[in-house]
Amino acid sequence: MSRLSNMLKSKGRLLLAVALAGICLPQTATQLVTPEIRRVGDKLACKCGACNNTVATCQMLECHYSLPAREKIATLQKTGATDQAIVNTFVKESGLAALASPPAEGFNLLGWLMPFIAISFGLVAVAMWFKRMSRPRPAAVVAAPSIDRKYQQRIDKELEELE
């Protein structure tokens, strides 16, 4: 019995140790978000899988993607690489998925244009609807009543008097 209790105690200690290790996990405080890094990082997607942010805006300390990415940007900037060259390096390594937004070229251009194409179509549809709805309905074909001229004059006179 005491052996079982010792086992349970040691299991508990192990769990506590693991939990405390978890607490201490994020040990890198170097966030590396200088304006220069932010400028490039804003163009790159954070691919940690837990957020939809960019390398510059990801705020997770334990992020396994954005922190090394920022360090890499800083290193490349020290070697004198231009912003575009740094972005190209990431694209070369991870493909177009490294970019925060699809490049406006080729098929991906459609990604940018489509919302505005849709709005344009919508506007055209609305304009057509306006035109259709503004058109008076064709009047029903009814034989014109043969109003006596004298009777019509009397109506007009009474209406004038009313006014």
Binding site: I23, C51, G106
Partner: protein, 669 residues
Amino acid sequence: MENVGALAILLAFCFAVYAVLASVAGKWRSNPFLLVSAERAVYSNFFLLTAASAILVYSLIAGDFRLAYVAGHSNRAMPTAYKFASWWGGQSGSLLLWAWLLSLYSAIVVFQNRRKFRDMMPWTVAILMSVQLFFNLLVGFVVSPFEVLVQGRGIIDVGDGQGLNPLLQYWTMVIHPPILYLGYVGFTVPFAFAMASLISKQKGEEWIHTTRRWSIVTWFFQSTGILLGAGWAYAVLGWGGYWGWDPVENASLLPWLTSTAFLHSVMMQEKKGMMKVWNMVLVAATFFLCIFGTTLTRTGIVSSVHAFAQSPIGVYFFSFLAIGIAATIFLIVSRLDYLKTESRLESVVSRESSFLFNNLILVASCFSVLWGTLFPVISEAVTGEKISVDAPFFNKVNIPIGLFLLFLTGVGPLIAWRRSSVESLKRAFFWPTVGSIALIAVLAVLGIHHPYALMSFALCLFVTLTITGEFYKGSRAIQAKSGQNLAAAAIELTHRNTRRYGGYLIHMGVVLMFIGFTGKAFDKDTTVEASVGDSFRLGGYEMKVREILDGENDNYAWRHAKIDVLQNGQLVKTLEPERRGYKVSRQPTSEVDIWRRLNEDVYVNFAGSDNKKAVIQAYVFPLVSWIWIGFWVLLIGTIICLIPSKVRLQYARTQVVGVASKQYVEVER
């Protein structure tokens, strides 16, 4: 126990099948016995799914770790509320929640209408139960929550479970999913009535009058669910983001956008007999987007085009969507003769036009979010290469659309139905426009040059002035007539037309939310490693680490920091963020501490510790509290909309262009 649960779902499936068949056959053969038995099958379906859900919840709370679902989503150390929340913490449980809520709604619909709409009800029941059938099929045969853990030929009990994801162990997460689901599932009811009216060839707006309250209530649940999710992300994820354009977040936004469009355009049908086809399209789009949202969150298709094939339920969801959309299109097209517009448009400058533009913008926004969410999958399918469509894309596309929508929120209510004269427009918009321009000038002088922020603040003021102007003018008129004070007159005004003035309050809530969103442009943050006694600065604050404490309970171990916040050398607040390490899941989480104020939140995250140093992330989020205040205003506005008006306004339909036809009928109750 698990056998009883599984049997209950199986029987519920059978009852759903019966309800569909009996409704259709009963209507077809004019057999009242079959129709009544179909309605009773709806009640039976509800009781059986309630029993199945109760068994699952009991198993989660009691810790029946022979069940795979319980072992995967509950554990002994979790508080009871979170054990209960595990019901919707995983795939099969959340699908059971969907099925149960739909059965509840269906039972309410059948009970409420047991003596009404006898022409339409059989079809309504058939449609509700067809959707029910689909979800019963999933939880009964594809992803059952009552599967047991098996080793060899024996059932095994693993003793303890993995527990709910620690990030989900937060109070809003206990209510966020069911509330969002109440909204998602709830839109099945207006959809069912709309389709039933098409099948039964109803010419009038009966389905709209019947489902108006359903639509508003479910829209409110959708709004609340989205806001609770945003509140959870803000307070739990540790970096103060409340919206990240994540596919799951987008999935909740899509039906909200179309249902908002529907709530506006439905007024055109009620008042003018216009846009009947469009309303059918919107109600159907909202329903299918609710199903699509569930598909997105449950199949993982957005992570990759290949995830679709990996998910056991993806094929079922897409088949259901394909069949449902095809049937709906066929139904609408075949009933176009019954959906003819009854009125003409008299002027482009009219309330009708503003509703139309409002609908266009809401649907365009919905499309752009849907497009951005799906474009990685489309692009991968076409080009073979993965791409990312993250927050920058959505912000670039949706911010201008959102600002235009905000503009329409202010303009729409001031334009009269049928036509507005240039003079009346000048009168209505002069002061709001002057106020907005003046605000831009003042803010620019104060150093705010962010173009979108300036536009947003100006439009917020514009809409606020138009709404308060409407309240003021109406209240003054009542005050002059009745001699009441202005506040009592405003209440009387609102009571006389709850829909209109409740709607204005909802608009006001949206304005307040936009103020909060705009604050995002001015966020400040810093990350430091600090020992006890160290201090650092952020914005106008000095922060000093006073103490770091350790501890543990059954569920997790924790490390806690006490950070004094000083302004001008004076202690103004002590914030106590915490870092937790969950024992079973071995996952760390952050419990941030937030000093919430109207002008800005001070937000501190204890992100970890390195020897004797604490890693502290501190943020200042200007105006963010207005998002939550806006939600409460929206809540009050929605409740007001649901209260019957004291005075009923009836508008005769305009049949011929140029004939004044507004009739005002007062019915004092």
